[in-house]
Structure formats: C-alpha cells, structure tokens
C-alpha cells in the first residue's frame, strides 16, 4: 500500500508532503508514543503511527529514515514540527481516529507489524 492508500483507509489528511504520498510504498507500521521504543523496534521502511506531536517525533523519523508519520486522535502538531518534517521531506498525515482503530483498520488492510510474534513462534 502507498501512504496515499493508507490515508484513504483511515480518513487521514495531509499536513505536509502531500505530493509524495502516492509514491511511497509502506509495507509495515509501528505505533508507539515512546521514541526510544521506536528507535529500538521500528523496522526499516515502516511508517510511524503516534499520538505525540512534538518536534522529536520528526527527529526520530529523520534518524530512522521513516517514510511517513501519522498522528492519531486529531492531535495537530505545532508549526515547528510540520516545518521540520517539510524541510526533511517526511510526509505527515493526521486522522481523527484513535490509535487502536487506526491499527486495526490498517492491519486488516494488509499492513504488517514490525515483528510478528505469532510467525516467529
């Protein structure tokens, strides 16, 4: 699925990088509000789904080359967060849905987890 497909599934709108959404393929996602957990467990190529909106979310995305970030619960980040993401070429999208609902819908649509415990067992 592309980021554009993902945005459509969960009714998300673009905050920046809208022109890139159709070109970015996203096989996996990681949902978390702890940036150190993101740094520890987010696989290469996975998008980030989070309820935090501060500038360190974009810094974390920069470090891991995260292809896009989705904010849940309709929490709009501050302008400095959007500006840094825009300058870094990282698309940001926002949905009114809860993290639980977003994760359920994207999992059902075929987005994979970063590590699948059932498969490993």
């Amino acid at each position: 699925m592309t980021l554009e497909d993902i945005a459509r599934v969960v009714g998300a709108t673009s905050l920046c990088g809208e022109d890139k959404l159709a070109a970015i393929e996203v096989p996996k996602a990681y949902s978390c509000d702890l940036m150190s957990d993101v740094l520890a467990f987010c696989s290469p190529g996975a998008m980030l789904i989070t309820g935090l909106t501060n500038i360190q979310i974009v810094r974390t995305a920069q470090m891991l080359d995260i292809p896009g970030v989705m904010f849940v619960r309709g929490k709009r980040p501050q302008e400095d967060t959007i500006t840094l993401a825009s300058d870094s070429g990282i698309p940001l999208i926002i949905t009114q849905m809860s993290m639980f609902q977003v994760c359920g819908m994207l999992y059902a649509a075929g987005i994979k987890p970063c590590f699948d415990v059932r498969r490993e067992n």
């Binding site: 940036m35 150190s36 989070t50 501060n54």
Partner: protein, 144 residues
C-alpha cells in the same frame, strides 16, 4: 575516504527544540560518505540517544564522531551529575528522567540499552559529581 573525518557539536541542556540536530548532522555525513543504510541507522540511533541523554541528564555536553576507513567512533561527553550505578542504568526500563523528557517521548529507560545494542564497542566512564563519557565504535565490516 583518504583522511579521517571529525565532527563535533555542543549540545545544550534541556533544549528539546534543537535536540537531535547534531545527530542528524552526523547521520547525513555518514550517508554522504556512502556508508550502508544499516551502518547509518545504527550510528544515528547511538548518536541520537546519546544526544538526548546530554539534554535530559548531562546538563548539556559534547557529541563527537570520528570516521575513518574501518569504523565510526561516537562519543558523548558531559560534566553532569554522573551515574551512581552503571549496571542499573544499562538495564532496559530503568530511568531517572523527569516529566519533561517523558512528555517528549523519552525517559523510558531505553537510552543506554539502545546505544549498547547498536555498538560493536560500548564503554562508559562515569564519576558521580564529575560527569559521564560514553564511547562507542561501529566497525563497518560487521554491519554491511
């Protein structure tokens, strides 16, 4: 590269706006040198966690990276309060971070463990009341 490359950045205490800028600079330099995405990712995680430690715990400090043909060495140096119990501090989940760090998504007790996990060499030199130096090395042939 023919000559070793040295990068150094001062990191301010409690500056959560600018935190991560030094790490991004180190990472972009490594990418520019053509190192593998795996190496760049490991170095970025180490540098960023170390930088956040300087911001949250160290009272600010200095991030330095030395890159040669075989490895990248990343060092974080502060003159902060030091770590009374290093064994405890490198356990996942142990933290002394305050509310501000937690609001930013840090302070989960994963910083030093994340640094250690991504380094081929991990050394920590600390003295209570004098400061902490974290030194890591990533060898290129191990992570290509």
């Amino acid at each position: 590269m023919s000559e070793p490359i040295h990068i150094e950045h001062d990191v301010a205490a409690d500056d959560y706006q600018l935190a991560g800028a030094a790490s991004n600079n180190v990472k972009e330099t490594l990418k520019m040198l053509g190192l593998s995405s795996s190496i760049c990712r490991r170095a970025a995680i180490i540098t960023y966690e170390a930088e956040m430690n300087l911001v949250i715990h160290g009272g600010g400090g200095r991030i330095a990276a030395n890159i040669d043909q075989e490895s990248v060495e990343i060092m974080a140096v502060d003159r902060g309060p030091g770590i009374p119990n290093v064994e405890l501090a490198i356990q996942e989940g142990f933290t002394t971070a305050g509310d501000r760090a937690r609001e930013m998504g840090f302070g989960a007790g994963m910083g030093l463990p994340n640094i250690k996990r991504n380094a081929d060499i991990f050394e920590i030199d600390t003295e209570v009341g004098a400061g902490t130096t974290v030194r890591t090395v990533i060898y290129f042939q191990h992570g290509q």
